[in-house]
């Protein structure tokens, strides 16, 4: 431990801690626009300067040392910070009123905190062409302050290497390699860049107007589904605490927006488990050489696999994601049951994710109903805007239930939204399929939590099933390497079943989640580990208290098979609920 003084307070922190982090232990938040707890310091913005033993230094990248004396604020420091801020603002458009980040922007917060009124510096801001080529995330380089967070996340945390710096000095901007469009780059649309961006430079591709148009079209029958991770984050926009599970209020809000039926993606999660566990058990029993099997519900992971890991395509579960399953079932089974013309049915999904926007148009398989199975996929952030626009008093809403039959779900389904959840849900059902008995212990502590790669061994009546869980897509590389190495050495596969989620923490920390700052949350806006844990807890608690915690006991799912699909993995199930993968290049130019 290192002892030092920060603003005359005694601080005792582990060696290697930065001054910025050390100051937080005495409730001092040194301003910064580039340092984020998820990424290494880039020393990009210059706001975090402090006086260290008399010298002005950047606190984000200066480690503490014994006996150090730090002043975090005095008139000169504030003056320098204000000048730095003015310089940043001189290269930023003055468009707050029409910016999607307004009210949720770290740069705006900072300008307010420092009372920047009018800067005398002339504007150097350059207009760049907006890159909305992915139709999932939008990159407006003219709003970028080159803090480097997105590049750090994309290159180092996610290991995707879509984003990079172009040029140098004032001309520096963030783009895909050589300034090409993101859609032509290795971008997997995970949106972690947008989750970490301090300004409006990288945001979701807004499709709320499309949804309004469908809702207002009297000829259409528009239904909606919400993903598990949405319910534990949406409340943050309406003053609820991080991780509070607001399923009932969200249903009520969606009904008030005018959706004819309110469904739940969790129904699709249960359906996914039935199909995926069946597929796994079949491979495990009949064709162990085809293991490990990878989960396939994360579209960013699907995209990464198709671009980077062609040799692993046969290991992938062919199951579609819960979102896509609900879409396919809504336009077939549900439409038939209700006597609706599927051509008039519109399925909207609310997702914590930007990559889900890409998933719904990924291939012809996403039109298995004969129509596009999911018509529009909006993020949690977009839904909260719609709720606010409609003037719905979310806080005061009474809980409502989802509609039948695509609304029923088990506890196993709701934990799909967090790392380890899909594997836990799948193991519960796979155990039942293999042994005909229920698991005694329903939770797997080894695969819970924020460790990048988690492993567990499950004893299924004498047979050991080895599973791995990877999240933060950069971590998947190590798992793949182990699998490849075993294969090359002619050894048994190190794992039988592997869950992958592209975002650290899973969908609860997806690229489309709110970026609210709470009074007791002085860290940067957007996602941090603290919030990841809280949102995940909201889902685990729901599972713990659920009447039914097994996908295979979902009565509506049983009815769906009895009335329509036949058996799990049947021909009809394959036609509607499964997909296939093709190798694709990293760059299209």
């Amino acid at each position: 431990m290192v002892k030092l003084k920060i603003d005359n307070y005694d601080v005792d922190v582990p060696a290697g801690t930065s001054i910025l982090d050390a100051a937080r232990t005495v409730q001092i938040e040194i301003p910064t626009l580039c340092k984020h707890p998820d990424v290494d310091a880039t020393a990009g913005c210059g706001l975090c300067i402090c006086r260290v033993n008399g010298r002005i230094m950047r606190s984000c990248c200066t480690p503490v040392s014994e006996g150090m004396e730090v002043i975090t604020s005095d008139p000169e420091i504030v003056d320098v910070r204000r000048t730095v801020l003015k310089l940043i603002l001189s290269n930023h458009p003055n468009e707050c009123l029409t910016c999607i980040r307004s009210g949720h922007c770290e740069l705006q917060d900072m300008a307010n905190n420092f009372g920047i009124k009018n800067s005398r510096l002339p504007s150097l801001n350059k207009k760049y062409e907006i890159d909305d080529s992915t139709k999932a995330i939008v990159l407006d380089a003219s709003k970028c302050i080159v803090c480097g967070r997105c590049v750090e996340v994309c290159q180092n945390q996610q290991n995707v290497w879509a984003l990079s710096y172009l040029n140098r000095g004032l001309a520096t901007r963030i783009t895909a390699a050589g300034g090409i469009n993101l859609a032509d780059s290795p971008c997997i649309k995970c949106g972690q860049c947008s989750a970490h961006c301090p300004t409006g430079a990288i945001v979701e591709y807004d499709e709320t107007q499309k949804v309004w148009d469908m809702l207002n079209d009297k000829d259409l029958y528009t239904v909606v589904q919400i993903a598990p991770a949405v319910r534990v984050a949406i409340g943050e926009e309406f003053g609820f605490d991080f991780g509070e599970n607001l399923t009932g209020k969200t249903y009520a809000a969606l009904r008030r927006l005018g959706f004819k039926k309110v469904f739940d993606t969790n129904f699709g999660a249960d359906l996914t488990i039935i199909e995926e566990a069946t597929e796994f058990v079949e491979r495990f029993k009949m064709n162990p050489g085809s293991l490990p099997m990878f989960t396939s519900c994360c579209p960013a992971w699907v995209d990464l696999l198709e671009k980077y890991h062609h040799d692993m395509i046969p290991q992938f579960s062919t199951c579609k994601s819960p979102q896509s399953m609900v879409g396919a079932v809504a336009k077939t089974y549900f439409a038939e049951k209700m006597g609706l013309d599927p051509a008039k049915v519109r399925v909207i999904s609310v997702m914590p994710c930007t990559a889900k926007k890409w998933e719904i148009v990924r291939s012809e398989d996403m039109r298995s109903s004969g129509f596009q199975d999911v018509d529009v996929s909006i993020t949690t952030r977009e839904l909260t805007r719609m709720i606010k626009q409609a003037g719905i008093n979310f806080r005061q809403l009474k809980d409502e239930d989802a509609d039948s039959p695509l609304g029923e779900y088990s506890g196993a389904a709701t934990i799909f939204g967090t790392t380890g959840g899909v594997m836990t849900a799948a193991l519960r059902t796979a155990y039942f399929y293999i042994t005909g008995e229920e698991l005694g212990q329903l939770d797997f502590k080894e695969i819970d939590g924020l460790e990048g790669i988690k492993e567990a061994e499950v004893d299924i009546k004498g047979t050991k099933v080895r599973v791995a869980v990877a999240h933060g897509i950069g971590n998947v590389e190590k798992v793949l390497d182990r699998v490849r190495e075993a294969k090359a050495n002619g050894e048994e596969t190190p794992y039988h079943f592997i869950e992958v989620m592209a975002c650290r923490g899973g969908c609860v920390a997806g690229g489309g989640q709110p970026r609210v700052m709470m009074p007791d949350q002085p860290k940067p806006r957007g996602i941090t580990d603290d919030i990841r844990v809280k949102r995940a807890k909201g889902l685990f608690d729901e599972d713990l208290n659920a009447k039914n915690r097994m996908s295979h006991h979902n009565e509506s799912i049983k009815a769906l098979y009895a009335e329509y699909l036949g058996k799990p993995n049947s021909g009809k199930a394959h036609e509607l609920l499964h997909t296939h993968y093709v190798p694709r290049g990293l760059y299209n130019k």
Partner: protein, 159 residues
């Protein structure tokens, strides 16, 4: 040597040495005069370096060129003497005649226009240099003649 093999040879030569991406890129540019997209992709695959990183390097150092330079490189001196003697007007005339800015090449890749600071013969100011040939006491009126001279020369070379 075929075009593609320049990059693959450079990649093979440098792939084992850490931090030598820039050397491989130098080799491509020294042969081709610039680093084409296809060659950058080949280096990425051959050296196991993400293409995004390669373009970070290529656009950070202004030595690297991403497009084929013109065959005739026109250097207009804007050093103190040449500038005072009116070379800024000569530069403007080149820009107007060629329809390009400094640092750019014409679409037919015939001319590349660049600005230099002093070529060491201030006595001849204002000075322009085209592919090593020096023109002294240039006036805006000379620009068209210089360009025509090089158009003819490049056409002859072709034949």
């Amino acid at each position: 040597m075929t075009e593609a093999s320049v990059a693959s040879q450079a990649a093979a030569k440098w792939r084992k040495k850490r931090g030598s991406l820039i050397m491989a890129l130098h080799e491509i540019q020294s042969v081709k005069g610039y680093v084409p997209w296809e060659d950058a992709v080949e280096i990425a695959n051959g050296m196991g370096v993400p293409l995004a990183r390669i373009y970070e390097v290529l656009t950070f150092y202004n030595f690297f060129k991403l497009e084929a330079p013109g065959k005739a490189v026109i250097s207009v001196c804007t050093g103190t003497a040449c500038y005072l003697k009116g070379n800024d007007k000569v530069l403007e005339e080149f820009k107007k005649e060629l329809g390009i800015n400094e640092g750019e090449s014409t679409e037919d890749r015939m001319f590349h226009l660049q600005v230099v600071r002093c070529v060491g013969c201030c006595g001849l100011a204002p000075v322009c240099v085209v592919n090593g040939k020096t023109y002294g006491r240039v006036t805006p009126g000379d620009v068209r003649n210089i360009l025509n001279e090089w158009r003819n020369k490049l056409a002859d070379d072709k034949e």
